[in-house]
Symmetry: C3
Subunit: 213 residues, 3 copies
């Protein structure tokens, strides 16, 4: 119940960030709606396709798809007011990240997978919508270059898993993970915490690239 509410908040918030990204690239309305849907529902779709968990969420519940399209259209209407809402957005997005992560993790556990696959499912659900959005907008995914984001999703998975192993009730596990992950994300944004970067330079970019093929 709580998770459904968080899921709805999360897809709405993600759809709106997707629509803004598309607007920065001056896409047409169709592009805006498609990017919004991919951002909001892409993470769960990637997870379900990789785990063979059919039907996908939005195929079973097309109302989520309609909600996402509505959020995209609404974003176009109120875009000029959005700049004042930056702080609220970041908080909704943080809530969405942890909500998506918990949902992804739960689905993998229900399918009988162990910790590694549940962690992958949780993190994928949390971050891959944003990665797909950035690929469609022809950017290097921001997830890889910004404040702690995917790593917080991973820490939330660990928190969830530890609670489950300790026998904490499912409702409490969800609430603890939400509060813990959300607080971490807020701290990361507030202080601009970043993951360490790995910077590698070849002496000779051209000849080196044959190594990559």
């Amino acid at each position: 119940m709580l998770l459904t509410i968080i899921y709805i908040i999360a897809i709405t918030a993600e759809a709106m960030t997707g629509a803004l990204s598309a607007g920065r690239r001056s896409m047409d309305w169709f592009g805006v709606i498609l990017i919004a849907c991919v951002t909001a529902l892409g993470g769960g779709s990637v997870r379900d396709v990789l785990l063979g968990h059919y039907p996908l969420g939005w195929v079973k519940h097309p109302e989520y798809l309609v909600l996402t399209c509505g959020a995209a259209l609404f974003t176009m209407l109120i875009a000029n007011w959005m700049k004042q809402l930056r702080a609220m957005f970041l908080l909704l997005d943080a809530l969405g990240l942890i909500g998506f992560t918990i949902i992804g993790c739960q689905i993998a556990i229900h399918l009988g997978h162990g910790f590694v696959i549940s962690a992958v499912a949780g993190v994928l659900t949390g971050v891959s919508g944003g990665i797909l959005r950035d690929i469609l907008c022809n950017d290097i995914p921001l997830v890889f270059r910004r404040e702690l984001y995917a790593s917080i999703s991973f820490v939330a998975v660990i928190c969830y898993w530890v609670c489950i192993q300790l026998g904490v009730l499912l409702e409490w596990t969800v609430i603890i993970t939400l509060i813990f992950g959300f607080s971490l994300r807020v701290i990361a944004i507030r202080f601009g915490l970043e993951m360490p970067k790995f910077i590698y330079q070849d002496d000779d970019e051209h000849s080196a690239s044959s190594k990559d093929v």
Copy 2:
């Protein structure tokens, strides 16, 4: 029967546009063939993977894959004559768009889905081959920035759905949708009709991007 013929024309035309795109990026023959296959068969594959509709079309009928490869090789041979064939190409591509849309829509209806999912399936089949082509060529997908294209696919879905609901015979539904969608696309090209664009600019691109993460 009619749809099979249109499907074959459509994948051939799409394969050729894919091959030309690859040629603009000076790819090697393998790249040309791969981009041609992705452009022609990618839309249907995305739809089938998302709907869990296995086996995929080209896995069941590898001859379509062979045809696509052949079309790519043929395009390389006649590339210099292609410039004179621009108009014909646009017409074949328009036919393909509507044909793909109808096929995608039909498959979703056969799987028991309602209007929303059928519309998504139709539009995805029509446009996502071209989106994948542009991602592989490292472009922002043209679909989002050009004359009416995806929206015509969507209008064709509505036309198809309305005909079905009105009890029109399937053959007639296909023919009406084809003529209607095709005419719309030709009009859109002729008069350069575009979807309205959503243009959004942050005051500060850098600080704003944290909103996107």
Copy 3:
């Protein structure tokens, strides 16, 4: 048995090339790990999703995922020594290419597919990890622009298929294909052999692009 060893070498080598690519783009640790996993395991995942072959390899054997993550972390540690290891890398990568190809081909044959689909499965397994890596790093996939790579994967499929048809024992088929494909790749690198390129230029890039939509 031999194939399992080659598979482990291959995913380790591919994970390391992925990590270096991510490092060239100054990604953070999470990005490095994700790109490494996608490069190493993405080819097999694409094949399995397209063929509907569930569960995916790394879902069934999460230890491969752990190995890939370990290889990525290890690469970050020893990156400065990697430049001296270029030659070794190219050889491991060549081994991986042929190993992946053989595995992909075998899986398709086990699923009852014919030559065309087996060839696609082999080549996809061999090359699509690298293609996904380049998309995530926002490059035009190198596979399409470098020395013979995908085409060697295709030749290895033909070699494998011919051996099977001639009734050669499976072990010998694997060994012959490995030696043959590996030698071809080494020759291609040594002499800088490339596929012919298809270069296509429109008179007018702007107006021509409507043809692509």
